[in-house]
């Protein structure tokens, strides 16, 4: 696995295997998720893969009522809002992700700071299979 390039494609392949993989700079130990080819802390490019546990807390969120075309095709929109947010992982990096298992119709009840756990949502089959990272309480 160490041979994979530190890029979005590798990140997505790992997600298909239900693994959350980021990059860590060997020089300054800065962690990046998704993985980066260049460390933005020290500009180094000697990197290693690191697996994240998938536990964190909600840093900010929104409940989307006016959905973009891709989400509208999945049935989301005015009568079926959905929640996305930023999750701060225990390891210190953040992820943008769908947040499931919360009430999108009552966003004033959703609390910033609530603990969340990673989950994986897959679409399609075979080579077309795409897995996204989602978080739930």
């Amino acid at each position: 696995m160490e041979k994979r390039p530190f890029n979005d494609a590798s990140y997505e392949q790992y997600l298909n295997d239900r693994r959350i993989m980021g990059s860590r700079c060997k020089k300054c130990s800065a962690l990046a998720l998704p993985p980066r080819p260049i460390c933005v802390s020290c500009h180094g490019s000697d990197l290693e893969w690191v697996e994240l546990k998938g536990k964190g807390k909600l840093a900010g969120f929104t409940s989307i009522v006016v959905a973009p075309p891709a989400m509208a095709r999945e049935g989301f929109g005015r009568n079926n809002p959905y929640v996305v947010g930023v999750v701060e992982l225990d390891e210190g990096v953040k992820a943008v992700s769908r947040i499931t298992g919360v009430d999108a119709r009552n966003p004033d009840q959703i609390r910033v700071g609530m603990p969340l756990q990673a989950d994986f949502a897959s679409k399609g089959e075979g080579h077309a299979r795409q897995t996204s990272l989602v978080f739930k309480p």
Partner: protein, 421 residues
């Protein structure tokens, strides 16, 4: 290493033009730019011979998508009769034309040119709302889009983080919207020249006419809190937190400072020029701040030798209401966490100590994306020349104003300080 950055040669604004903003399906960007350009030419007190313009920089975000036409620079050159002079298009999402302004300033400061036209334009009315949303999302980060974020959703996420950190509520957003809309009826160029109370009263009248139950809102805040009047878009962003879809164009004439008096006795000088870049949402250290704005502000303050307290009034990029609060803090107008209180206390009203968005802001003036950066600077220029009519900042010693322009979800920000000397 860091060094003090300044212009090698001073630059002044000697003319400006802005179209009426709104939805104009039966016209196109050439019509808009020609309208703004004609006003600009007529605004130069001692006249400008268009043949003397050395170069043109124009900002446009994504007419490539909105009207399926790319390569706008030669279209503008052709329109104005500038062929074969150099015309360059700049793109920085909603900050596209602030970048054109900046490039124009740098081109004169370098000694390359003496007289430069800068401007911007956008036509969004030819698309459906969904198509516009899709076009705008092209300027978000790919990670945000893949996760299902929309533009309002990114700003909504910042708002929930801001609320949690500082104990603010949606009322803070209402105050921003009400304040900006109060200025709009005073701006003849505004797309929505109505206060929030005007919207509320119009809605009540409509209900009366249709013999429907007449809503009983006790004030504007009650109106904005009612989802029937102000429906959610991306919590906590509601309709009245979001700028409209707009068409329009703006332009300004820049000249070397040493020749400014040939054009006008009231040149407005470029005192500070700042631009910064920013991370997408997941990589930001702080969800309640734009690093790009901070960098742009610091650069402009350093170049001008001015501090946040010297900025007497400003145009601030309020694409979504929360952005105005965060930007006030990032630019140092107030301390982090204090913007919502400052707005509630009236600091940023037209008659307050530090007016913000005297034009009505993007929310009520309109936001033709690629035109906005120069449209904001046009407002600052107009105010500094004392020509803002009923919305003139009531300060007889108005000398220093600034404009903040934010591109995308904060990836490109500029801060430009103008000064009347």
């Amino acid at each position: 290493m860091a060094r003090k950055r300044k212009l090698a040669r001073g630059v002044a604004v000697v003319g400006g033009g802005l179209t009426k903003l709104g939805l104009f399906k039966d016209r196109n960007c050439k019509d808009f730019f020609a309208e703004a350009y004609t006003e600009m030419v007529n605004s130069v007190d001692k006249g400008i011979d268009p043949k003397d313009i050395d170069a043109v920089y124009v900002g446009n975000f994504t007419n490539d998508f909105f009207v399926k036409q790319s390569h706008w620079a030669p279209i503008i050159a052709d329109l104005l009769g500038n062929v074969p002079k150099p015309v360059t298009r700049t793109e920085g999402a909603c900050a596209s034309s602030a970048l054109a302004f900046r490039e124009g300033v740098l081109a004169i400061a370098s000694g390359m040119y003496d007289i430069v036209l800068v401007g911007g334009f956008e036509q969004m009315s030819k698309c459906s709302t969904e198509e516009v949303a899709e076009g705008l999302a092209m300027a978000a980060s790919p990670y945000e889009v893949a996760a299902g974020f929309t533009f309002p959703g990114v700003f909504g996420t910042m708002a929930t983080a801001y609320f949690a950190k500082y104990g603010a509520t949606r009322e803070a957003l209402f105050n921003v919207t009400i304040k900006s809309h109060n200025n709009a009826p005073l701006n003849p160029k505004a797309q929505f020249p109505m206060t929030v109370r005007d919207f509320m009263n119009a809605r009540i009248e409509r209900s009366k006419k249709k013999a429907e139950p007449v809503p009983a809102w006790k004030d504007e805040k009650a109106y904005l809190a009612d989802p029937a009047a102000n429906p959610p878009v991306a919590w906590p962003m509601h309709l009245f937190d979001c700028c409209p879809i707009s068409d329009g164009a703006a332009c300004m004439l820049l000249v070397a400072e040493d020749m400014a008096r040939n054009f006008t006795d009231v040149p407005i000088h470029v005192a500070g020029l700042g631009q910064g870049s920013g991370y997408s949402l997941h990589a930001k250290k702080d969800l309640t701040s734009y690093e790009a704005t901070r960098a742009a502000g610091n650069a402009a303050y350093e170049m001008s030798g001015l501090t946040p307290n010297d900025i007497q009034f400003s145009e601030v990029h309020d694409c979504f209401s929360i952005a105005e609060l965060v930007t006030m803090e990032d630019l140092g107008f107030v301390k982090p966490g204090q913007a919502h209180r400052a707005v509630a206390d009236g600091m940023t009203r037209l008659d307050g100590p530090r007016p913000i968005n005297t034009s009505g802001g993007l929310k009520s003036k309109g936001h033709p994306v690629g035109a906005t950066g120069v449209a904001q600077l046009y407002e600052v220029w107009t105010q500094l020349r004392g020509q803002a009519g009923n919305r003139q900042v009531p300060n007889p010693n108005l000398r220093i104003g600034a404009a903040h322009n934010l591109g995308g979800t904060g990836g490109t920000c500029t801060f430009t300080i103008l000064e009347r000397r």
